[in-house]
């Protein structure tokens, strides 16, 4: 496991095809560059095109050049003026933030139990938790709807926070258990000598050490909650309670005739750029978090 994480960050010169010292025409090299550039282009182009469309207005929107002739920010101001988009952004931030805090806190405590203590039923419970991550969202939809109504939190952010936990908890627990297992035993023995309680041990001793793993899992949980659509669509009704994905999916013009593509693209760019920035900055951590969850799964 640790080897895998290290390999993700390492720069091992591992080129199956690269045969050094052979003066041949570098077909492989050309193929490598062409394929890589093609993948980079295809990955990034839709976002660039959305950015370009968001800066166009009126009939300019219907001509496909990448660089807009008369760039304008009218779509951006329009999104905030015509919809409660600022409120939607705040909602998404609140939901995602609470979901991350709750799932990290709960799973860190549980990770100590599952990662450092051996007890009867541990394997079975871990398998059950893992299987919860395979649960289709619609399978809990009607039961969750009943729960949300019973608590009287329909059309509030609380409903989304509670519902999203079923998506994030299984993998935050799994990843943190994986990382918790790798920590040295001596730490805990030293802490026990000092008569430290379990909660202090977990939050004061282990949490700082698990920081990289917490950042990776936290980011993944944040992205999951930020992007969540089905629960947000079902458990909110008013425009003010919507999160951003729902707001974007349901954007319409007052006439309701043609979709306001310029504004949709502006909203899309606003939602996406922070995520892309986060992901590019933390790419190594995210990659290690993703593969840790998968390999252990």
């Amino acid at each position: 496991m640790s080897g895998l994480v290290k390999a993700g960050a390492g720069s091992r010169a591992l080129a199956p095809g690269a045969v050094p010292g052979q003066p041949r025409f570098p077909w492989g090299c050309i193929g490598y560059w062409a394929a890589s550039l093609l993948f980079i282009f295809v990955s990034v182009f839709p976002l660039l095109y959305a950015l370009s469309s968001s800066l166009k207005q009126g009939s300019g929107l219907f001509s496909p050049e990448l660089w807009p002739k008369a760039p304008t920010f009218a779509n951006y101001s329009g999104v905030f003026a015509e919809q409660p988009f600022a409120q939607n952004l705040l909602n998404s931030l609140l939901v995602a933030g609470s979901v991350v805090t709750l799932s990290l806190g709960l799973s860190l405590m549980a990770a100590w139990a599952f990662g450092r203590v051996e007890f009867r039923g541990r394997g079975l419970l871990l398998m059950l938790i893992l299987s919860a991550s395979m649960l289709p969202q619609v399978a809990v939809l009607s039961g969750m709807f009943e729960l949300v109504r019973a608590f009287g939190i329909y059309d509030t952010l609380g409903a989304l926070i509670i519902a999203d936990l079923v998506l994030t908890l299984p993998f935050t627990v799994w990843v943190l258990v994986t990382f918790m297992r790798q920590l040295p035993k001596e730490l805990e023995e030293a802490a026990a000598m000092d008569g430290v309680g379990v909660l202090t041990l977990v939050f004061r001793v282990y949490m700082p050490l698990l920081w990289p793993a917490m950042v990776a899992t936290g980011l993944l949980a944040f992205i999951a909650a930020w992007n969540e659509f089905l629960f947000a669509l079902t458990f909110t009704l008013s425009t003010e309670a919507r999160t951003v994905p729902v707001a974007i999916a349901l954007i319409s013009t007052p006439s309701g005739f043609e979709l306001p593509w310029g504004k949709i693209m502006a909203a899309s760019v606003i939602v996406t750029l922070p995520l892309v920035a986060l992901v590019v900055v933390f790419q190594r951590r995210i990659v290690s978090g993703l593969s840790a969850g998968a390999v252990k799964g």
């Binding site: 990955s43 095109y49 496909p64 549980a110 919860a132 709807f145 299984p170 939602v271 790419q283 390999v295």
Partner: protein, 333 residues
């Protein structure tokens, strides 16, 4: 293949097996027996520490699931959820039950076609990208960063972006295909029932290939370098190296990634709902469930469909787990 390479692949396989079949399957209890009372206290503490998470997960996962299964045996409706009667399997096998509904079977077919197409394309492309990412090169960091872009974009947003690019009148895709002379008239990518499911697959492949590539890359990086060195010393051709060394060694990881993607694709909702709404031609099982439950208010009937999807995925995961364990054991042998 040389003996060196063979021995090496055996060692790597057993290492992979060690990582995959982790120790939760066979808990080591001997330590606990040695320490007695202190250990018992530790176990009690462990339960207290795990309890909050377990309770929350039971409340938001297990309980709603059980309620859904229960609702599927009733005639409950959204407008008056407290007032329902037990009707047995009527929602499944009754005259107007799920199994007699053409729309349901259409949704099942759509979902299976979507899953089959997207997972196989994503595996092939993901393998290609992972092989590219595994080469040390100046482009690697840029490639990895670019790949994470589609993955990080919310599904709703990517559905909207592509709907715009695939717009029948003003879309850039039609514009360039027309200019190149590939098509004679604009195509209605998302409205034409013959095309819409393939457009959805295209967007899913764009979005999910990076995830696949990263998982496969993790498997590729566990292949020990000495395997390649041994093969190079023996002058094994490149294609043979891939087929005889790389592929068998990454097979467990590849299978895990495919299973993950399959389970994910079977419950697809966002992409299809945003790109084609509730259209019958592209409706997935999840879209069908939500339409029945919320739009038509048929909680009982919708829950029956949700229960079918749940058991399908549960069955598949159990089969997949058994299959993977066999593969790992064979790889270790």
């Amino acid at each position: 293949m040389s003996r060196g390479a063979l021995r090496c692949s055996g060692a790597a396989a057993s290492r992979a097996e060690e990582v995959m079949a982790n120790d939760i399957l066979r808990p080591r209890l001997q330590n606990a027996a040695l320490r007695g009372g202190l250990a018992a206290q530790r176990v009690r503490r462990a339960w207290w520490m795990a309890a909050p998470m377990l309770l929350v997960l039971a409340a938001v996962g297990a309980w709603p699931l059980l309620r859904t299964i229960w609702f599927s045996l009733t005639d409950s409706e959204l407008s008056n959820p407290g007032d329902y009667a037990f009707i047995g399997l009527e929602n499944y096998v009754g005259e107007y039950g799920l199994l007699a509904s053409a729309d349901w079977w259409q949704a099942v077919g759509n979902t299976l076609l979507f899953t089959g197409l997207s997972v196989s394309l994503e595996t092939l492309l993901g393998l290609g990208v992972a092989l590219l990412l595994n080469q040390a090169s100046r482009l690697r960091t840029l490639l990895r960063a670019a790949l994470l872009v589609p993955w990080a974009i919310p599904t709703v947003v990517s559905a909207k972006m592509w709907s715009w690019m695939l717009h029948d009148q003003f879309g850039i895709v039609n514009h360039h295909l027309l200019a190149l002379g590939v098509i004679a008239a604009p195509l209605a990518w998302t409205a034409d029932p013959q095309l819409s499911l393939f457009s959805i697959v295209l967007v899913d492949v764009w979005k999910a290939t990076p995830y696949m590539a990263l998982l496969i890359l993790a498997a590729l990086q566990m292949v020990p370098v000495d395997c390649y060195e041994a093969a190079r010393v023996d002058g094994v051709p490149r294609w043979q190296v891939f087929r005889r060394i790389t592929l068998p060694l990454i097979l467990p990881g590849l299978l895990v990634a495919m299973v993950f993607r399959t389970l994910d694709a079977l419950r697809v909702f966002d992409l299809i709902y945003v790109m084609t709404s509730n259209s019958r031609d592209t409706q997935s099982m999840s879209v069908f469930v939500r339409q029945q439950l919320i739009d038509f208010g048929l909680v009982g009937y919708g829950s029956a469909a949700a229960t079918c999807l749940f058991f399908m995925i549960a069955l598949l995961s159990i089969v997949a787990m058994g299959l993977m364990r066999r593969t790992f054991e064979r790889a270790a042998a």
